[in-house]
Symmetry: C2
Subunit: 163 residues, 2 copies
DNA sequence: TGTCGACCTTTCCACCGTTGTAAGGTCAAG
DNA sequence: CTTGACCTTACAACGGTGGAAAGGTCGACA
């Protein structure tokens, strides 16, 4: 019933490191401690951790998860709110997707044009070196890649390890 | 012909901030300075900066750009090498894409299932709270979203501003 | 000459989420 | 009593970029 942080990590899929981190940023209430200062977790907390992990796996940010946790714990919440949150996140994902797809398309085009042999001439390098002064009003220029930087949605995580 | 960092930034589309940064991490040779310490740039350096920016816009990492710059400046390079680099990057983009698409698909499914009204019951929340203990050998489970964390390719940038 | 504003300089901090490392305390088994 | 697995905290690092502070420089204008 009561376990140390390592066990909670294993059970929830959230690393001990991150459990402490989530606690420190207030995503998580401070855990009960033993006399010697060890954090103690119950199944209930492990469930919450699992909730957090599932949310992270869907790409929600810490702040969004904070909201999701609030909605989860509010048994009276209108499902509308949850849906709106998810919908908004989908749109963020979509922006990212479009950007990556655009990059990929441009690269694929270039790779396609490059014979890729021992000769030095290379359309890929040439294209990168080109002036291609865009940044005019219409972003959908030549390659379809507006040079605009993106929105900054956190997306990547590292390789897995549970504890 | 010779310009301050602000002008070089405007001309290349790389912010003054980042020009200094690139120099500090050795992506860029140290610029010539005036007596009073101002960096001076020529059109040649601006071209290089533009090359860097184009590469960033295609999602190449600093390290990859370091290689690209090397290949660019080596007039003898086999185009094969450039192509391989681009190809590898396409594969990274692809991994990211797959992950985001998977997230999006899962979310869309959930959003679709949620009526999104004033009632509190919500399949989205329920799904997040579910145990769904996967992490077995085969990742392609229920939702199609293996919970594995990803590879960590740098993808997002901030909103644009040129100088 | 003084001074103003636009520019430049460096250094440090913040973001985001996660990992690593260091230097220590605790616990249970041998 | 020692060993090793665990726990604790505090700090730095990774991507790449922006921001702010605190100062020096430059050109123009009175």
């Amino acid at each position: 019933m009561s376990m140390n942080i390592g066990e909670a990590a294993k059970a929830s899929g959230v690393s001990a490191k991150m459990i402490r981190h989530y606690e420190s940023v207030g995503l998580f209430p401070e855990a009960v401690r033993t006399e010697s200062g060890y954090r103690q977790y119950t199944d209930k907390e492990v469930s919450t951790l699992r909730f957090v992990r599932q949310s992270r796996d869907l790409g929600f940010s810490i702040e969004q998860i904070r909201e999701l946790l609030g909605l989860w714990q509010d048994r009276m919440r209108p499902s509308r709110q949850v849906r709106a949150l998810a919908q908004a996140h989908i749109e963020e994902l979509d922006e990212k997707l479009k950007e990556l797809q655009s990059m990929k398309a441009t690269l694929e085009h270039l790779v396609h044009c490059c014979h890729g042999d021992d000769r030095p001439d290379c359309p890929i390098i040439d294209s990168l070196a080109q002036e291609r002064r865009g940044q005019e009003k219409s972003p959908t220029a030549a390659t379809g890649l507006g040079h605009r930087r993106t929105t900054g949605l956190q997306v990547g995580r590292r390789a897995r390890q549970s504890a």
